[in-house]
Symmetry: C2
Subunit: 366 residues, 2 copies
């Protein structure tokens, strides 16, 4: 197996590109793909300040490394989600990466800073953990970018992620999500609130940025490629998948697409980029009014279509509960809805009760 560029010994074969690469040319390939993604989708301008959402996994660390390598002014932000050993290891890995290179890494700890964690939020809301997790991460990263005056937020979504999300949106024909599934989400300026007319305007003012631009520079790389990138670059990352995501739809969609990709290399890439080229515009929201009335959250000023944004509503619901250990929150599976953890502050026996009601709670282990 020889490198397609230099004919030296190859270390990786990329079937969808029908090419093998040596370590150096594979790393160059990764950089080239990121440069191309950034250029084609106008993700980041030279000189802009980038906030990288860092989990400690292969994608976010590869992304941070790549952006620095390409000369961007990229700082990190990590959120302690409280998902047992998995979160402990993730945060430690992100911190170690930053310290070794003397990088700036902002940190939030959900339990310490907001008095909840993801297992508890999942148990209290009785929704899949990924729901409160995604909501929390999005809100806090966006807020950190605005407060820290970053020009853009970069996340580590790779081609497999985006194709799987697209597949899920297409399976359900979630047209509103399809309309927004792009490698770049534009920044938003605060609604033109008329503070003189007696309306409540929240903290956002007209002309203020209420939502940062968000970009996904890894959309041209697969997760196998970001993992290989980390290995070849000597980046230590958390290999384990989140124990709470086990069996979730997103992973099932990945598996279904992987089966198609195995038989037709390049299928996933054609699916995602074909969507962007030929279909995404067909689902684009109406220029006016398609989003409903966006106003500022009465509590935090974030853009929302309700009175209070989803994050502030989550906070209202989930803070102040006794922590539920991750082991007791079973990933949602078919038929298990009624067997999930139940916690109510008054009982004081939440965790034990949850264990009983879940019966065969999954092992969270990392």
């Amino acid at each position: 197996m020889k490198c397609a560029v230099c004919r030296g010994p190859a270390v990786i074969d990329l079937r969808r590109h029908n090419a093998n690469f040596c370590a150096d040319h594979f790393l160059k390939f990764c950089r080239d793909q990121v440069v191309r993604a950034i250029d084609e989708h106008d993700m980041i301008e030279p000189g802009e300040r980038v906030l990288v959402a860092v989990s400690g996994g292969k994608d976010s660390l590869a992304l941070w490394d790549l952006l620095l390598d390409l000369g961007y002014d990229a700082e990190g932000m990590t959120i302690g989600l409280g998902i047992g050993d998995y979160s402990t290891a993730s945060t430690a890995t992100a911190v170690a990466f930053a310290e070794r290179r003397n990088l700036t890494l902002g940190r939030i700890d959900l339990r310490g800073d907001y008095d909840y964690d993801i297992p508890t939020a999942a148990a209290v809301t009785r929704r899949v953990p990924c729901s409160s997790c995604g909501l929390s991460k999005r809100h806090l990263i966006d807020r950190a970018a605005l407060d820290g005056d970053y020009d853009v937020v970069a996340t580590g979504h790779n081609l497999d992620d985006e194709a799987a999300v697209l597949f899920g949106n297409v399976l359900h024909w979630h047209t509103e999500y399809l309309g927004r599934q792009r490698p770049v989400l534009a920044e938003r300026i605060g609604p033109e609130t008329d503070t003189g007319s007696g309306g409540r305007s929240g903290r956002a003012e007209a002309g203020t940025r209420v939502f940062p631009r968000k970009v996904k520079p890894l959309v041209r790389l697969t997760e196998r490629e970001t993992a290989a990138y980390c290995v070849l670059r000597g980046i230590d990352y958390v290999v384990e998948e989140c124990p709470m995501a086990e069996g979730n739809r997103h992973l099932r969609y990945k598996e279904a697409l992987n089966a198609v990709e195995a038989a037709s290399p390049g299928a996933k890439q054609a699916f995602y980029f074909g969507f962007l080229a030929r279909a995404a515009d067909r689902f684009a929201p109406e220029p006016d009014g398609g989003d409903g009335e966006v106003r500022a959250c009465a509590r935090c000023g974030s853009p929302t279509t309700g009175e209070v944004c989803a994050f502030c509503r989550l906070i209202d619901q989930v803070t102040g509960h006794d922590p539920v250990p991750v082991e007791l929150v079973r990933p949602r599976r078919r038929g298990s809805r009624r067997r999930r953890a139940r916690t109510k502050r008054p009982s004081g026996q939440d965790a034990t009760g949850a264990q009983n009601s879940t019966g065969s709670a999954t092992k969270a282990g990392s």
Copy 2:
């Protein structure tokens, strides 16, 4: 397991409907689904003459049986494709079904009537067999419907078929196919050809029907359900799948969707009907001109955007060749493109040559 309707012993469980049925109520369920499909999509008006495309498999025989049972004036049409024992058995099964009930079944034999068969066409065109097969069947059924003055052609496409085709079209974002993927294709009246202006108009005249309405009354039933319907109705059908379809994309897409369906019963139905409800219109061709200039085929008068329609071009290419046995035409697989059968009239050694060049030709089975 009890019938959801009468609480008697159930013979089948339908997970996506979260219901079990006894034989009688399952048969009623099937009829109800067909009635609903016909009604919701305005497929067939009472009193119209229906031509059923009959292969001898479970879907087409169930369809014919259901339409007759519902009181429609439905006659059949079957095409001998020349795919070895599979085609022999299929035709015999279709004929036996018709004879036992004294039904009218039109017959075409590709080799006898048009001097080619599907294995030979696949070998000569060097394309997947399903390509010339689908083209031949569509053209000949449509033509038979027009010549026989049938109001509508009914085909046995079931929910699994339609969902798999949709998945394939979505994976590649074939927007033009997505725009046409409906349970009903409207009839077409001949182009307004101006025969006085020196143009060649073919055999079609303005105001003549050049394409019959085509409907898929089984779109609300899965293939498991049409098979169960046949078993419970005592309908003898060809169980084997076409040996030439083995490993084709359509089957792979079915498998991928089956994996999703197994984890989320109802996913396939939501995918297909969600498409019709919320996405199909977004891909609809422009009312004018989107289809290119449709004219009458110079040879046969069928609607085409070229001079000669695809079927007449196929005929030109594939008739008069020595028959290639089905065993020698290997289903197209990754990497096998260059190893497929080669036939040229002059050699006279086509079949042998093909066997050599294919190397490990698949066993055609049954």
